[in-house]
Structures are given as structure tokens and as C-alpha cells.
């Protein structure tokens, strides 16, 4: 670097001075944090130390799952000003997808074939755009045709899907219900899963599904060309390759179905769990990208419509999950590496973490390794990973800049829309990952989405809506307050002027998070890490 200035540069403020300024600017924030730390610290006096440690770890566990939902919500809201109300249901959907891969790998393999075919049709979007570009229709007819093609296509897709083997699965029959499969996996007694058959010749099902998907993709192309006549219409060789690859993948899976299924059933549940994590995360990313491109993108000029669209999407996903997996709540067994109960269990001491036991005893604390150590660890890994992505990479720099002013980022020559799609995909992927991580500890139910969406929204309000560290801090506080209220519901607090210890009743558990949010927002209207201008 070259020094070019003649005038002596004013000395930069000393480190001490800067530190003093920082504390001055953050006085309220510091005081709130100190008070909260004090409150949770004094809890150590009322609760015996073993319980206290477990309560803290449980708080971290709830915080980690809340954070996985809140982080994506915050990134999406910050960058695109879209409050994605479907985020909770996508988290839940991730859990169900993960459960399916984990407990019913056969169904997962069956589902890969139609999935490959449908994505192949969408991979060819530039081709469909090119085909519809030269149509001449009045704008009104164009709109009508878009809907007609979309609905006909959807009808064909649904019809074709009912021919596939996985459609034979009826979760309302007890022998086929998710609960039965979960218990079978947990006890190691295999349930009698018999491979279902196609209703028609498989090739017919494949071709009809491909035609239906092409129609749906064609409707998307119609809508894209109407809105943006400059949309890309050249069909690159890579587009052909992607579509051909997806189709080939579908065919290979269809042919090798039995072999792949047997291989997955032969794996230990630990491996299967990590495969389930990866599949659900990828599924979340794909679902996020799909939702952003086809539904959110046309509505950036109309934020209210976007909000209503995500709300509607939430209900659709909720009903879809109830239809496919049933309404009942069920469990997901923890992977083998965290589920041991035989000889040598429960393990004791810090070295027992890798013992494969379900429970670890440290001092007086009985710690469930999966729920109370593994879940917080995943939350921490995601926190560090996404922070590094935001701070150290070019895309992260673009995201941080876009949160503030996406128009200016675009004016620098950066395709902000592509970044929007990526961030939406990332956010939904994190939620889906959170769903799978949470499933073995909190179970699966269609209501889990709404519950964690609410916690995540409270965490965001506490943390300052668009701040990523704020999402983490908010989630942590929400987890702590809830778990300590639960704990005090059991042991009671000695309050002055009261004869008996005060025991918070169960309804105070969800209420406590809201009360905490109200108190913090009264002191800091922008949340802990919020910026003044929002």
C-alpha cells in the first residue's frame, strides 16, 4: 500500500478510548445481558447443581433447534424482507422427510424415482421458455392458459403419483403407521415391510409423470415469459446434461431399487441417521429454491401478497403431512451411537461421551447424550459455519450488503436475485436440518412446526429481527427461560412474603418467553442486536 497523504493523519482513537465508546453506546444492552446472566446464575442457588447443569444443557438443546429455525427466518427476512410464515412447516416437513429416510428407507428409494423425473422436467425450464416465447396470445388469454396448463399438469402428476408403490402406504392402518415402524426400528425387530407394486406398467407411470411435470414446468415458463420477456431462453448443453442425468438417475434407481433398499436396511442406524440428515437438508435446499423461484419471486413488488402466500403454503404443507404421514404424533429412535442401554451403560465421566450409551452421568447429573449434547453441538456448528460464510466469503459479503440495500448491490452489477434464491434455499435447508435433529428428542407431530415457528419469531424479536448473532442470542434466551420455568415448576422458588415456594404452572412455560420478549423490547425497542434504522 502507498501512503500518499501529505498532511499528518489524525491519530486513530486509542484502544482504551474505543472500548469506552463501545460500552457507552451499548450501555442498555450490556445491562440487560448482565441482569439476565445474574438471574440464570442465581438459579444455581435454588436448584441443586446436578439439576442445574441438566437444565442448562436442555436449554441449549431447545435453543439450538429454535436457532436452526430462526437463523433461516432472519436471513430471509433481512435480505428479502419476506417473513416466511411457512418456515415452521418446512422445518416439520424436514423432520418427516428425515424420519422416512431413517425408518423407511424403502419408501425413500421408491420416492427418488418420481422425484428424479419431476426435477428433470423442471431442469428443462429454458427449453420450455423458448417453446412458449413465440406463442402469440392476448395478455388475458396468456394468463388463463398459464393456469389451465398448471392445473392440468398438476392433475396428471397427482394421477401418475397414485400409481407408484409408495402411494399404497396408509398411515391410518395401525400395522402400517409410523409409530409401528419407529418401535420396530427401536427394538430391532424388523416389521414385515413387503414391497408394493406399480398399478400400471412402470414405464407408463414414468412417461405420464414426465408429461405432467413438463406441463407444470411449462406453466411456470409461461408465467416467467409473460413477466420478463428478457428471460434466458438459450438451452445450454449443461441444461440438457442435467435433465438427462436426472432421468438416468431415476432409471438407475428404478432398476436397482431392491439392491439399494437392501443396502440401506443393512446400514447401522448411525449411518442411516447421517444419510437422513443429508437428504433432508438437500430436500430443504431444493424446496426453498423452488418456492423462491416459482412463488416468492413474482411477488417482490407486493409484500402483503407474499405474506399471505407463505401463510397459505404453511397450511398446504401441514395438510400434506397429515395426509401422507397421518395425524398422530410419533417418535424417532435416536441413532445407535447415542442409544445404548446395555452393559456398561449409563457411562460416567467426560470420556463416556463416545461410549454409545444413551445416558451419561457426570457428578449428580444424568445427561441424555443425544438430546443434551449432540443437539446443542449441531446448533453450534451451524452457528459457526454460517457466521464464517457471512464474514469470510464473497457471497456472505453480498448477503450482508444486501440486507442493508439490495438495490445498490444490484446497481454494482451483482445478480441479487440469484443470491435471493440461494439464501432462501439455505434458510429452508437449515430449518429442514433442524427438523431432523429435533425429531429424536421432541418427536414428530404436525404441530411441531407452529410451535417452533413461534419460538423462532420470539427469538428473532429479542435478537433484533435481521441480525444473525441476534437470532442465536434470542434463541438462547428463549431456551433458558423456558427450561428454567419448567424446572421451577418442579422444585419451586422461595419468594419473600410467601409461605410456600412458588411453582410456575405449565401455561407459564410458553408465556415466559413472550414476557421476556416484552420486557426486552420495552428496554431495547430494536432488540438486543437490532440496528436503529429498522
Amino acid at each position: 500500500m502507498t501512503a500518499t497523504t501529505d498532511a499528518p493523519a489524525p491519530a486513530p482513537p486509542s484502544a482504551n478510548r474505543r472500548r469506552a465508546d463501545w460500552f457507552k453506546g451499548n450501555r442498555t444492552r450490556m445491562m440487560v445481558i448482565v441482569v439476565l446472566v445474574f438471574l440464570f446464575g442465581t438459579a444455581l442457588l435454588g436448584i441443586d447443581s446436578g439439576d442445574w447443569l441438566v437444565t442448562i444443557l436442555r436449554s441449549l438443546s431447545v435453543a439450538a433447534v429454535t436457532f436452526l429455525v430462526a437463523s433461516g427466518l432472519s436471513l430471509i427476512f433481512g435480505l428479502m424482507d419476506v417473513l416466511n410464515l411457512a418456515h415452521g412447516e418446512l422445518f416439520m416437513l424436514g423432520a418427516y422427510v428425515g424420519w422416512t429416510v431413517y425408518v423407511r428407507p424403502d419408501t425413500f428409494v421408491d420416492a427418488l424415482v418420481p422425484l428424479g423425473i419431476m426435477t428433470a422436467a423442471f431442469a428443462l425450464l429454458p427449453l420450455w421458455r423458448r417453446m412458449v416465447k413465440h406463442l402469440t396470445m392476448s395478455p388475458r388469454l396468456w394468463r388463463v392458459m398459464t393456469w389451465v396448463v398448471a392445473l392440468v399438469g398438476l392433475g396428471v402428476v397427482i394421477l401418475a403419483l397414485t400409481w407408484f408403490p409408495f402411494a399404497k402406504w396408509n398411515p391410518d392402518v395401525y400395522a402400517e403407521s409410523p409409530i409401528t415402524y419407529s418401535i420396530a426400528l427401536d427394538t430391532g425387530i424388523p416389521s414385515n415391510i413387503t414391497p408394493a407394486e406399480f398399478d400400471v406398467t412402470p414405464v407408463v407411470a414414468f412417461v405420464v409423470l414426465l408429461i405432467g411435470s413438463a406441463l407444470v414446468a411449462g406453466a411456470v415458463a409461461l408465467s416467467q415469459v409473460r413477466r420478463d420477456p428478457g428471460a434466458r431462453t438459450e438451452v445450454k448443453p449443461s441444461t440438457w446434461a442435467a435433465a438427462a442425468g436426472l432421468l438416468a438417475f431415476a432409471v438407475i434407481v428404478a432398476v436397482g431399487n431392491t439392491a439399494i433398499t437392501d443396502w440401506l436396511f443393512g446400514l447401522s442406524t448411525t449411518w442411516l441417521f447421517f444419510i437422513a440428515l443429508a437428504v433432508a437438508t438437500l430436500f430443504g435446499a431444493a424446496a426453498g429454491a423452488f418456492i423462491e423461484v416459482t412463488m416468492i419471486r413474482p411477488l417482490y413488488a407486493r409484500p402483503i401478497y407474499q405474506l399471505m402466500l407463505t401463510l397459505g403454503l404453511a397450511f398446504i404443507i401441514l395438510e400434506l403431512v397429515r395426509y401422507v404421514w397421518g395425524r398422530a404424533e410419533f417418535t424417532m429412535p435416536a441413532p445407535a451411537a447415542f442409544n445404548g442401554a446395555g452393559e456398561g451403560c449409563p457411562a460416567s465421566g467426560v470420556g463416556g461421551i463416545f461410549s454409545g450409551c444413551r445416558i451419561l452421568e457426570i457428578g449428580d447429573s444424568r445427561i441424555r447424550i443425544y438430546n443434551e449434547l449432540f443437539v446443542p453441538l449441531v446448533g453450534l456448528i451451524v452457528l459457526v459455519g454460517v457466521s464464517l460464510l457471512l464474514k469470510r466469503t464473497r457471497i456472505g459479503m453480498v448477503i450482508r450488503a444486501g440486507v442493508q440495500d439490495s438495490e445498490m448491490v444490484e446497481a454494482l452489477g451483482i445478480n441479487v436475485r440469484r443470491v435471493f434464491t440461494m439464501v432462501f434455499a439455505l434458510g429452508v435447508a437449515l430449518a429442514a436440518l433442524g427438523g431432523v435433529i429435533a425429531a429424536p428428542s421432541v418427536g414428530l407431530s404436525p404441530e411441531m412446526g407452529a410451535r417452533f415457528l413461534l419460538l423462532a419469531l420470539i427469538a428473532l424479536a429479542i435478537g433484533g429481527l435481521t441480525s444473525f448473532p441476534g437470532a442465536a442470542a434470542g434463541a438462547l434466551l428463549v431456551g433458558l427461560i423456558q427450561q428454567f420455568v419448567i424446572k421451577y415448576g418442579q422444585v419451586g422458588i422461595d419468594l419473600p412474603f410467601m409461605d410456600e415456594p412458588f411453582k410456575p404452572s405449565p401455561p407459564l412455560v410458553p408465556a415466559s418467553a413472550v414476557i421476556l420478549m416484552v420486557v426486552i423490547l420495552l428496554l431495547l425497542p430494536n432488540g438486543l442486536f437490532g440496528r436503529e434504522d429498522r
Binding site: 500518499t4 450488503a401 451483482i414
Partner: protein
């Protein structure tokens, strides 16, 4: 002399409001052209329309003889147009260095241009690690101009560079714009007529969304009547 930018009868709507009702202008390559007019005449909208941020509904926009209509903003910017907006739009969460690096279109743009940029604005080199929010108004303005200089832009759209700055900083800013205009064509929106008249060789006046008068700046400076009529005070 060829024109790097030509607008022919450009019309822009924002929502239902008809903001530009017919703007035509030529920007000759290598010159500084000042876009003048009263508040709300449509100067800023003209710049945003060129960049496609508020797309034109009618009319023709040519940059280096390429039609800009229907293109995305990022595409237009990447053709070689830099933008220094009115509110400066510095990214507060990013450091000065990141604010410059984000404008790179090829790897190494900043390294190649840093001598030139820090030659114009020595202050920025000293503040390189500071976050955008910590800068003074003048420093933010310098950073906004510097950011537009990082990639190889052929045309800069600069909106109100002197607004809210102390006189001594305005002098420095004018010096910088004069220096950078040796390599880059500039279309300048400026309320301060004295600043505009000292910088620009040509002018275009916009009134109520229409371009009404254009020519050599030297002629306008002597035309008291036109100044009074279109720009208010002299």
C-alpha cells in the same frame, strides 16, 4: 465525437405516477455532462431509469449503441456503468475495504485500481478497516465514488456529490471528479449550480419530467434568464 449514452423520449412510471414524460439527452464520450433542474424535476429518476432500477416504459436508451431496454439492472451495470446514488448507499455493516471489494467484477480489480483510488482519496486508505457506519458524511461520499471506480466503468452516474458536505470537502470532491473524468465519462446530477458549472462542459435541463434545454455550459453561465427560469436562483 461519439455519444456513449443516448436517451430518446424516455418515459418512466413509478406505480401509477408518470415521472418522466419525455427525456432525451446525449452524453458525449469523455465529457462531464450536468443534469440540472429543480427539486422533483426527475433528475434522480433519469439516472435510475438508465440503470433499469426504475425501468423505462417507453423510449430508447442506448449505451455504446446497445439497447438497454428490458435488461436487468445488474446486467446494465456490468456493461460498464457505475452509480453513486444520492444517499451514498454505503454498506454500514461492511468495512471500507469490503465496500470496495464488493464492487469488483473480476478478481483483482481492487488491487489494480487501488493506487488510483487512494491517490484521489488518501483518507480512505487510512480508514480501510473501519466499518461504513463509522465514516463521516464526506468520507462516505468519497467511498461511494471510490466504489464506482473499482471496476472498469466507462460511464459514471453521480447523484448530488456535494450535498451536505463542508465547502473544503466539496473542493476535494470536485478535484476528484475532475481527475477521474480523464478516463471516465460522467453524467452528474447537481443542485449546486456553481459546482455544476465549474465541473461540466455540457448541461441538460429537466423540468417536470421533460428535457427542455441543453447545450454548452459556457453559454448557460451567461444566460441569467434561463438560470432564473429553470433553476430558480442564480
Amino acid at each position: 465525437m461519439s455519444n456513449i449514452l443516448e436517451l430518446r423520449d424516455v418515459q418512466t412510471f413509478i406505480g401509477r405516477f408518470h415521472i418522466l414524460e419525455g427525456v432525451s439527452l446525449d452524453v458525449p464520450e469523455g465529457e462531464i455532462v450536468a443534469l440540472l433542474g429543480r427539486n422533483g424535476a426527475g433528475k434522480t429518476t433519469t439516472l435510475k431509469t438508465i440503470l433499469g432500477l426504475t425501468p423505462a416504459r417507453e423510449g430508447e436508451l442506448l449505451f455504446e449503441d446497445v439497447d438497454l431496454s428490458g435488461r436487468h439492472s445488474y446486467d446494465i451495470a456490468a456493461m460498464g456503468i457505475g452509480y453513486v446514488p444520492e444517499n451514498r448507499a454505503i454498506f454500514g455493516d461492511l468495512s471500507v475495504e469490503e465496500n470496495l471489494r464488493i464492487a469488483e467484477r473480476k478478481k483483482g480489480d481492487l488491487a489494480r485500481k487501488s493506487d488510483f483510488i487512494f491517490g484521489l482519496f488518501p483518507d480512505l486508505e487510512r480508514l480501510i478497516k473501519l466499518s461504513g457506519t463509522k465514516l463521516s458524511g464526506g468520507q462516505q461520499q468519497m467511498l461511494a465514488v471510490a466504489r464506482a471506480l473499482v471496476p472498469d466503468n466507462r460511464l459514471l452516474l453521480i447523484d448530488e456529490p456535494s450535498e451536505g458536505l463542508a465547502p473544503v470537502i466539496i473542493e476535494q470532491m470536485m478535484e476528484a471528479i475532475r481527475a477521474l473524468s480523464k478516463d471516465t465519462t460522467v453524467l452528474l446530477v447537481e443542485q449546486n449550480f456553481i459546482v455544476a458549472s465549474r465541473l461540466a462542459a455540457r448541461y441538460v435541463i429537466i423540468e417536470e419530467g421533460r428535457s427542455v434545454k441543453s447545450g454548452a455550459m459556457a453559454d448557460l453561465v451567461d444566460d441569467d434568464e434561463a438560470i432564473k427560469r429553470y433553476l430558480g436562483a442564480a
